[in-house]
């Protein structure tokens, strides 16, 4: 009422009031975090993962190089995954490695177009050094180690720490006996993307750049694990001999053949091939939990909603199906997406156009859900099958190299 309540005096010489601002800023941060999380959920859900596409890596690298930086476009790519948590992060990282097919037949131009290296036995890892720490993640996306390293921006030490756009991403195999990360590929160096570079260039970069840092040095408090570059060779008879029997610091588990023109792409690729025999690998045949080689070849396949069981290839290959009454009886144990173990029976596998079409498979039981890499790929099944029946031998490889055209470019820098 007039006269009593009156008009309140106006604010005079308004002094600052920060409280409302604190509230608003906190609210804005919460909103932003929520938006970020939802955006990520959407990107991961959409199947094509935009953050992992190499072209965006280039953008990021470009921005840094040309220094007309727009803050929003920086640090895209794998580092986006660092904002994810738990299962979402694991799912994300499990899709970031390039996976070799198994060598089912010998590619042409082996000598001209391919490099070779011995493959260390151990855990395949994605190693990311960024923001002052180094994290290694296994093929299923789980963290193996989180540690300081002498990789650029891999530790919080004066020599190594750098701005957040400086990060490194390596493809490694962690070799437990000597606690060493064996580097088999390099995808990013100091924020510079190598995804779209040829393997040949990546190997050159990997060998020279790593040597410039202290990453290859023995461990210290700020460099918990040693890194070591796996030597890469051009593919000739002498180098094949060397990687096959020559002395290496690690336990050998087969040989890797890499097409020297191949870009680094996520998932299975025929441009990287794995080959092994009993001479160069302790793990030629898959073993059971007791370490024995089963009498019948074992395969792991994924169960689909329609009862078929398929390989991990894109698109998957159907190798058989489970009877529907069996599925109904065991509905509580067997769900679409589960990994199942089968034995290949006496009928073996029928192969058409280099692909298995039908296999005589017998259900054995469930496989671990967290199995690295999920179901077996076609080439693995075929390689294992061949290894039991008519293996591709080292002699076959040598013959192929000798027979291939000698005019090939042999100017490998490493």
């Amino acid at each position: 009422m007039a006269g009593q309540a009156g008009v309140p005096p106006r604010v005079h010489k308004r002094s600052i009031s920060d409280q409302q601002r604190r509230r608003e800023i906190a609210l804005e941060r919460q909103k932003q975090s929520r938006r970020d999380l939802q955006q990520h959920a959407r990107q991961l859900a959409s199947g094509f993962s935009p953050p992992s596409s190499p072209s965006q890596w280039d953008d990021a690298a470009h921005d840094d190089d040309c220094s007309h930086s727009s803050p929003g476009s920086k640090r895209k790519g794998i580092l986006e995954g660092t904002k994810l948590k738990g299962g979402k992060a694991r799912e994300f990282y499990s899709q970031q490695l390039m996976l070799p097919e198994w060598m089912v037949d010998i590619p042409i131009n082996l000598k001209k177009d391919w490099c070779i290296m011995a493959r260390p036995a151990g855990q395949r890892c994605l190693v990311i050094a960024a923001n002052g720490s180094t994290i290694s993640r296994q093929r299923n996306g789980r963290i193996l180690h989180c540690f300081p390293s002498a990789l650029p921006n891999g530790a919080r030490t004066r020599d190594v720490a750098a701005a957040s756009h400086v990060y490194c991403i390596l493809d490694c195999i962690f070799h437990a006996p000597d606690k060493t990360y064996y580097v088999v590929d390099m995808m990013c160096w100091r924020g510079y993307s190598l995804y779209d570079c040829s393997a040949e260039f990546r190997f050159f970069w990997m060998t020279t750049k790593l040597a410039e840092t202290g990453a290859l040095n023995p461990p210290t408090a700020h460099h918990r694990y040693r890194f070591s570059v796996v030597p890469v060779f051009e593919c000739n008879a002498a180098s094949l001999e060397a990687v096959y029997t020559g002395s290496v610091a690690f336990v050998r588990d087969g040989l890797l053949f890499v097409n020297r023109h191949a870009h680094y792409q996520m998932g299975l690729t025929p441009l990287v091939l794995l080959w092994k025999d009993a001479e160069c690998s302790l793990y030629l045949f898959d073993t059971d939990s007791q370490g024995n080689v089963p009498a019948h070849q074992q395969v792991v396949l994924e169960l689909c909603s329609d009862g078929t069981v398929v390989t991990s290839d894109q698109p998957p290959t159907v190798l058989g199906s489970l009877p529907s009454d069996f599925l109904q009886q065991n509905a509580q144990y067997l769900k679409p997406g589960d990994l199942l173990r089968f034995a290949i029976g006496d009928q073996g596998i029928s192969i058409v156009d280099g692909k298995p079409v039908v296999a005589d498979i017998h259900f054995q039981g469930l496989a671990s859900k967290n199995r690295a890499g999920g179901a077996d790929s076609c080439t693995k099944i075929l390689f294992q099958y061949a290894a039991r029946h008519s293996p591709l031998t080292i002699t076959d490889l040598l013959v192929a190299i000798e027979a291939s055209d000698d005019d090939g470019d042999t100017s490998m820098a490493c």
Binding site: M1, A2, G3, G6, V7, P9, R10, V11, H12, K13, S15, I16, S17, D18, Q19, R22, R23, I25, A26, L27, R29, Q30, S33, R34, R35, L37, Q38, Q39, A41, R42, Q43, A45, S46, K85, G86, G87, A130, N131, G132, R156, A161, S164
Partner: protein
């Protein structure tokens, strides 16, 4: 019995605590045993002229308190209790109250007027008590019947209260007309009793909102305006003041009708400002301030089509108005800068000048600058202060091009004036410096006032002057605050404040420790300025900010050891804790946002958290809020590690969610739940039963401020996203709430701005909830959402059709559409085939300039296409 009541009522006001207590107890018993009889005897007590004024007054007050309460739930209860009373009881009480209006005892009349209005507030909206207005008007007499002045006064007062209590719809237009007629007659110069005129003028103030129709009619409006203007010339200053209050109200309610009267109004306000007593002069200035408010708002909305025409009253009055206001500036009080809540003509005049500057922009500058130049160096401090105040007041409004050259010249003068011998001059100078930094300093200012060259000098002066008296020091803090804020968006390059950073921080900390920091809000300003300095800190100064953490923690720890003997002590402790938690919050948020500094914050996590928990144990609302915000920031920084604090913290989280009264605390806590969900991910699961229960209770409560409800919906989404399939068990509770709210937003008919805004907030919240639930269920529980898909898509269509839809709703809605398609897969294809609107919606979004919206829309479309093509 009646005699007894009188004695009990008197005893209830006794100085003797024991007597009082016994009396209160027996009143309570009486009320419980016979509620109707209790009210009747109170009304008879009030009506009885034989009774002592004190017992009558208390009887009236108890009556009033049994009809209305501040708290909504209690109020509702009282209202229904009154409605359920026997009609004859109600009639008796009303009769007694009406009778009291003619009492010669002023207190009894006044109390009765209030009680009548309370009953009217309950009954008129229900169509009850139709005879009230008529019987009141009969009290006013007429040509034949002359009524006593005190009855007319009490009646007008009652009419005023009734107008204040009831809404316009509860009165018929003819009732409004008769009320206005009675009121305006009472105001008329022919009314000989000043008390009647005052009551009538006060009643008009409350009745103005009802007078829309009357103000449309030229004749009626002219008459009302004439009477109001005449009342400003009444010999009684109370009437003059009340009449100006009416003018102020008319100025904002009926702005578009004012044009014919402005010349007269200028004359009477100008006369009052120059000659009248201060309370009257203040209202006269306030009239112009409220016209400025209107015209500032009209111009702000001008780009959108404002329905109110812009008459440029201020611009037209400018040549006369500005000198009038300048004249007020030298009428300062000696003590004005030391007194909290001081308000005088000089302050009102300067404030109005500031509003005029915002209303007219550049035009004010040539009218004010000569005054400034003439007075700013005069020997009389009043002139120097007034000139500085005038200059400071016009710094917001005019263009930067106009102001920059003037400020460039004035800056050095202002810096030296910080050494003026007079405290008020220094106070106003420091305030003016703050205004300069606020409006003419920042990344977007084309001709920077502050340069690498003069910055050291500016800081030297400020950091010296901060040692001045608390009122000056407080203004200096403000200046540093805005100086820092100007560097907020300083992109690239080292901060210009870097060399001074450490020094500024130390000086601010020392200021908070001053013995006299409790005066003039100095301590608060110093801490808040520290906050701003932390906010603008860069990587280069991160280490110094980090060093603040143990310092502030120690201070917070110190508050826990303060001796708290009185409520004053308690308040002091709370205030300090709120400030310190605020500083910690700002630091955590700042350092936690960067991966390189986050680790440092995490290291202090345990210590900070244990302090916050101890602060909670002191229980105070504001502290609760600040500590809660700090904890949210901590959860954001620590991530999953925050889990270790949950067992102890949980009960305070729950308390926060239960705090209906201080809804800000509740709102802030809801936000912190979101932080915790994102930090803990599925590890938050064990706490979700409790949290969800509380959130659902909050939503169903009508005590809780509605602004908390949208964030609660968003919070559902946060929880669902964190715990994924485990949200299943809450689905049957959450979905009906979401659907109900969604339907409510679709039915909202009243489209005032506030409602539109609220509707949008509500929709954002609902949509964010849906997104979180879809995303959470995607992997394993998609089928659970199938039954709701149709409804949700329908809701999105409603949202799409809404013309008032804002950007955040658009973004959320297009996202949910994609989430729905993505989660439900081909089974949702038929829905999309029917809901053709989605294509238009996507088109609208993809043609937006907002990159994020575009991307989300493209993603949604590709997801929908994927499922509709395979389906």
């Amino acid at each position: 019995m009646a005699q007894e009541v009188t004695q009990v009522l008197l005893n209830a006001q006794s100085a003797d605590g024991v007597v009082r207590k016994v009396a209160e107890e027996s009143l309570k018993q009486f009320q419980e045993q016979n509620p109707a009889g209790f009210l009747i005897s109170l009304s008879h007590e009030l009506a009885n002229n034989e009774k002592p004024p004190d017992s009558r007054k208390l009887a009236g007050l108890i009556l009033k308190n049994s009809l209305d309460a501040k708290e909504t739930g209690r109020k509702q209860e009282l209202v229904s209790r009154w409605i359920s009373l026997d009609p004859t009881v109600k009639a008796q009480i009303k009769g007694a109250l009406s009778q009291t209006l003619s009492s010669v005892v002023p207190d009894a009349r006044h109390t009765s007027a209030q009680v009548i209005a309370k009953i009217a507030a309950i009954e008129l909206p229900q169509g009850e008590w139709p005879e009230l207005v008529g019987s009141l008007l009969a009290n006013m007499g007429g040509l034949q019947v002359q009524q006593p002045a005190h009855l007319k006064q009490a009646t007008l007062e009652t009419l005023g209260y009734v107008c204040e209590e009831v809404s316009a719809e509860s009165l018929a237009q003819e009732q409004v007309n008769s009320i206005l007629t009675a009121v305006v007659q009472g105001m008329n110069a022919s009314e000989t009793s000043n008390d009647v005129r005052l009551a009538a003028t006060n009643a008009l103030y409350n009745a103005l909102d009802f007078a829309q129709t009357n103000f449309e009619n030229d004749m009626e409006r002219d008459y009302i305006m004439r009477v109001v203007c005449e009342a400003t010339l009444s010999p009684d200053s109370r009437v003059r003041q009340a009449a100006f209050e009416c003018l102020v109200s008319i100025g904002s309610t009926y702005y578009e009708k004012l044009a014919p009267y402005m010349q007269d109004i200028f004359a009477i306000t100008s006369k009052a400002v120059k000659e009248d007593e201060e309370p009257v002069a203040l209202q006269a200035v306030e009239f112009w301030s409220s016209i400025c408010d209107e015209e500032i708002e009209i111009q702000e909305e001008y780009s959108g089509d404002s329905e109110v025409p812009y008459f440029q009253f201020i611009k037209k009055a400018l040549p006369a108005l500005v000198p009038m206001l300048l004249e007020t500036l030298t009428k300062q009080d000696e003590e004005q800068d030391q007194e909290e809540g001081a308000w005088n003509l000089a302050m009102a005049g300067g404030t109005c000048l500031g509003l005029v500057a915002r209303a007219v922009g550049d035009d004010i500058v040539p009218l004010v600058m000569p005054y400034v130049q003439e007075n700013v160096s005069k020997p009389d401090w009043r002139c120097r202060e007034a000139a500085t105040y005038a200059f400071g007041s016009i710094l917001e409004g005019p263009s930067l091009e106009k102001l920059a050259p003037l400020v460039n010249v004035a800056l050095n003068f202002m810096l030296s004036a910080m050494k003026d011998e007079n405290n008020h001059v220094k106070d106003t100078t420091a305030w003016t410096l703050g205004r300069i930094f606020e409006f003419l300093h920042g990344p977007n200012v084309q001709f920077p006032i502050i340069t690498q060259e003069n910055l050291p000098m500016i800081l030297k002066v400020l950091l010296e002057s901060i040692n001045d008296t608390p009122n000056v020091a407080e203004k200096v803090c403000g200046a540093i605050y805005f100086l820092a804020q100007g560097y907020e968006d300083n992109s690239g390059g080292p901060s210009p404040l870097l060399p001074f950073f450490q020094n500024i921080v130390q000086v601010l900390l020392a200021t908070t420790d001053r013995e006299d920091a409790g005066d003039s809000r100095l301590r608060t300003s110093a801490y808040e300025t520290l906050n701003e300095v932390v906010r603008i800190s860069t990587q280069d100064t991160a280490a110094m900010v980090m060093q603040l953490v143990p310092v502030i923690m120690q201070k917070l720890n110190h508050t826990l050891e303060m001796a708290v003997l009185s409520s004053d002590d308690r308040e002091k402790q709370s205030e300090l804790q709120a400030l310190l938690c605020g500083v910690l919050q700002v630091i955590i948020q700042k350092l936690g946002a960067s991966d390189t500094t986050k680790l440092g914050i995490v290291q202090y996590g345990d210590q900070m958290m244990s302090l916050f928990l101890r602060v909670f144990a002191c229980r105070s609302a504001t502290v609760h809020e600040e500590a809660m915000l700090a904890i949210g920031a901590l959860a954001y920084s620590t991530g999953p590690e925050f889990g270790k604090y949950m067992p102890e913290f949980y009960r305070y989280l729950e308390m926060g969610l239960q705090n209906f009264e201080e809804y800000q605390v509740c709102a802030v806590t809801v936000g912190v739940v979101g932080d915790i969900c994102r930090a803990l991910d599925d590890k938050v699961l064990p706490f979700c039963d409790g949290i969800m229960t509380q959130l659902l209770k909050d939503l169903s409560s009508n005590q809780l401020h509605r602004s908390v409800k949208p964030p609660i919906f968003s919070c559902f989404g946060d929880i669902a996203l964190a715990i994924g399939e485990h949200f299943e068990k809450y689905l049957i509770y959450a979905m009906p709430m979401l659907q109900g709210a969604a339907e409510l937003t679709a039915q909202q008919a009243i489209r005032d701005e506030e409602m539109i805004d609220y509707n949008n907030q509500l929709r954002s919240g609902i949509l964010e909830a849906y997104s979180g639930i879809f995303q959470g269920f995607k992997t394993n529980k998609a089928e659970l959402m199938v039954p709701y898909a149709g409804h949700i898509l329908q809701f999105i269509e409603n949202v799409y059709q809404d013309k008032e839809r804002d950007d955040s709703v658009t973004k959320a809605a297009i996202g949910v559409m994609g989430d729905l398609a993505d989660t439900l897969g081909p089974s949702a294809a038929p829905l999309f085939n029917q809901a053709v609107f989605y294509k238009d919606f996507v088109d609208e979004c993809t043609s937006s300039d907002d990159q994020q919206l575009k991307e989300t829309a493209e993603w949604a479309l590709s997801t929908i296409n994927r499922i509709t093509n395979t389906g």
